[in-house]
Symmetry: C3
Subunit: 395 residues, 3 copies
């Protein structure tokens, strides 16, 4: 569809994103999610047409990465930049936060001229999402009290529960690959655990996937070796959503079986829920010996499931032998990034470029989240941007 037509159509989506943080996709309506996808697609088209999407003449986007990150860091930087914001890292190691200051204080101190605060905090079960809400409450107070000239929006760049910028980028990719969100109805997507020679991988990606894809009438197959559970509440919620949206939800413990007839497969490692709980306690107590011991036990346990590798024979058992392979990247590719991993080298190679295409939506999704948080009538502002027709590169 042409950009102007898409902008017109966006007008008909009744979203309620203005001045609201998106911390879990399942707290948002389908209309909200659709609006974000649409805005992301419009931004992508505008980029291709060399039309500037800059709506901030100046302003800061804070990033607070409590864990390492490449692609989300660059996606956030890209999104901020395309809207006109400068990224300022909050590096807690270089700050005075170690002095013991409160979340409320820090949140306000960094926000006097801030339009968005992007946070990644996925190490401690029960902490990351909670921390984001604490920051949000502090910013609410600061704005209400006149400390802040505006209430900065919060962007969840991955927490202990959800990874909304990832899952929404994945959804945009699915929409593109299958033609429409409507076409996803009845498709079988397998979110499967896969073997990895590392441990402690967060639960937020698989949880984010089942929490989002269950909104669109898909048949969700969640597969993992016994014991490798996700957070039970999230699984329950996803089940309910799947049924409500006209799809289904099934849990199984055999990767080979699970893959049969799949339209989409997402084989990815994670640590079992109960291990993440133990790990959280050990991390809190800075129990290095305990952590080392836990890692040893986990790796040994993982090693029992080396056959949970997405391979050619599984691929052949999927719909037409060609289910869309997805991954948030980097994948543990057998023989490339590790000896034995999540996916066979040749299988990954077949879908490699498509995983890049999947990833390329993330900056646009983040920009769309910011944009819809900031402007009450996104369609109107996009229309004005098209009319302004300022070129991004050139004179």
């Amino acid at each position: 569809m042409k950009t102007n037509e898409k902008i017109e159509a966006l007008n008909n989506i009744k979203s309620d994103l203005y001045k609201k943080d998106l911390l879990l996709t399942w707290e948002k309506s389908e209309q909200d999610l659709k609006a974000i996808i649409e805005v992301a697609e419009i931004f992508k088209q505008m980029r291709d047409q060399n039309i500037s999407t800059r709506v901030f003449d100046s302003g800061l986007a804070i990033s607070n990465f409590r864990d390492n990150s490449t692609r989300t860091r660059f996606s956030y930087a890209s999104a901020s930049n395309m809207l006109g914001l400068a990224v300022q890292d909050l590096d807690e190691a270089k700050s005075q936060i170690a002095h013991g200051e409160t979340v409320s204080e820090t949140a306000n101190m960094i926000s006097f001229m801030t339009d968005f605060v992007g946070i990644r905090d996925d190490m401690y079960l029960g902490e990351g999402n909670k921390y984001m809400r604490e920051v949000g409450a502090a910013l609410d107070e600061g704005f209400a009290e006149g400390v802040l000239p505006a209430r900065p929006g919060i962007v969840n760049l991955q927490c202990d529960i959800d990874h909304p910028t990832q899952s929404m980028a994945d959804l945009a990719h699915l929409k593109n690959q299958f033609g429409s969100l409507g076409n996803l109805k009845g498709k079988k997507i397998v979110m499967s655990w896969a073997y990895s020679p590392s441990y402690g991988k967060p639960l937020s990606v698989p949880q984010g996937i089942i929490g989002l894809m269950s909104r669109f009438g898909m048949d969700i197959e969640l597969a993992y070796p016994e014991g490798y559970d996700l957070i039970p509440d999230v699984v329950d919620m996803a089940k309910k959503q799947a049924v409500q949206s006209g799809g289904s939800f099934n849990i199984s413990h055999d990767m080979n079986e699970a893959m049969k007839g799949a339209d989409i497969v997402y084989p990815k490692s994670w640590a079992p829920y109960h291990i993440m709980q133990q790990r959280t306690d050990l991390l809190k107590n800075a129990d290095a010996a305990g952590l080392k011991e836990l890692e040893k036990v986990c790796l040994a346990n993982n090693a029992n499931y080396k056959n949970w590798e997405y391979n050619e024979s599984m691929m052949k058992s999927t719909k037409n032998g060609d289910a869309l392979y997805m991954h948030c990247l980097p994948a543990d590719i057998s023989g490339v990034s590790c000896k034995e991993g999540e996916v066979e080298c040749d299988v990954f190679e077949k879908y490699r470029i498509r995983t890049y295409l999947e990833a390329c939506y993330k900056p646009y999704i983040i920009a769309a989240m910011m944009f819809t948080n900031r402007f009450e009538n996104p369609s109107q502002i996009l229309k004005q941007l098209m009319e302004r027709n300022r070129i991004r590169v050139g004179v």
Copy 2:
């Protein structure tokens, strides 16, 4: 007052800030200081009206933090951004400066397209302010010799002697709280040492406060346990200024007594002058054992003055039991950020939001310092900005 009226009134302030660094507030005239406060207030109003204050289409603001910082770092980034400058950190650990290159060389090498250099250097007594002047001289030479297309301004983001962006933000807050700078005349402000379980806190905040507030006819009470002196020259200068401006200056050694009848209180820990001298020598010699021993002695000495905590009974003894509490943050809050500290938890909570309001002036103050350094006629340029009326957010 309306923004346009304030801009008009600014015209009547005869400041002399153009192309001059502000390294110590007491080197500047009252007119200079007033002009900076006015410009800061105008910027704040423009932000609230969504009017862009961008005067640089491109350009760099270097930051050189030789010590940790959160709020000053973000304030500098915010100020730079609202004027249109990109911040570039000079991280000495990642640079070739360890090779032994000279201050003159480094200063020029980072300044080919630089509009401002912000420096924090407060660890070594006798060094920080001196270093800034060395950088300034190098930039003078580089500009005179045609190496630099412009002479970047230097922003003192805290040195061993003064903390002008802090004290000026504090002054803007006082003006706001008491209605005008004129209303500060005759007000009693207590700059008091307070107990902290840490040591080595710089002298620049208390020195900056007595060095600036003594310009406006206030009654300055400097209170600290015997032995916890500030740099004698700074105290002498502040005394003279206080008398000249129609105020007074008194030193006392009893926190309870000092607080009586105060309009404003600023209880904050610092390390004694003679300790900072010893510490400087030990740091220069990288004498780890000596530093450890000195820390032990100091903490033990501090512990003798745990009753130097600003508490409810002291608060009740102030003017109307409600003197304005100030702090540069983060404060050592008893029971919150430490077991025993500078201020009682409930007392801090009462003024907490006001300390945030105090802090929120810093980005505007820094931007005003940059702006008045760069433009000979700030009132004229501000008028043009109002007429340009470019919106900060939106299309």
Copy 3:
């Protein structure tokens, strides 16, 4: 020449830089090199005239410094900024690259909204330049496959073979000092090894200098103690170029003799080629003991050549006793940055400001490389910039 005249004249230079990376100067035609110098000079004039050179309304310039850097880092940041790009560091330590992901993947993941990728990679012989080409191939693929909306240009910020932003800045300086590139014909330039109390200095500067200056009819004298060879292929190439351009090329092993009658001298330390090869192997194997041993041997060997210091007597033997002294900085200055080094303190001081002037071209050179990579008709775009006449600072 006036800016508009220079822009007009640029039209007559038939360069072929559009959409091509500049990874080695000797892969480019003389017209290419001249075009870059011209654009750099035009940018410099525009800066002096307060005319904005901003051609990107938004966009990212990635920097990937695999070694420490100050001046190149700031030059890249300056160049990016003057064109309107925001710099985003790829800090491999803070990323997930350690996970073992491929160059292809990383290159694409950071480039969804990237206009340029600047890379410094000079530690491993045989690796740096190769890595840049791998990144280039990955970006080609990403662009061809629709992953990237544009193919980001690559800027070689120093590799194992060449240091084109340095050598081109040096050439711009020579053009300025001698009046024209034509005037360089027949001038004697001595690229000489010099003593340094450190080891492992890269070969890219001397190689870059002989590889570039041999294009303009100069008499190249390459002087070093026996055993301190450069990469043989590069020396052979430079020899051929020198002859082809009507100049000459001579290798000698006596610094005193080499300097006689020189117009230009460039005394700078480097590590012998065969040592760099050994060092590369040891670094790859993370052989700390081997590296320590190699360092010891090398420093001892260096110490045999302490008389390779550019001193007053050598200076007096040059043309009119006043050959132009050049250095990429920081120099090892005897008695300033080290006890005994590459150059006598008084000699360096005489040319110090001129080394700063030399360095000041680097941001403009980098900006010119980016600009000519991005616009098919640089002259036309520059003309439009002059007509647009947007001021850089002011309203």
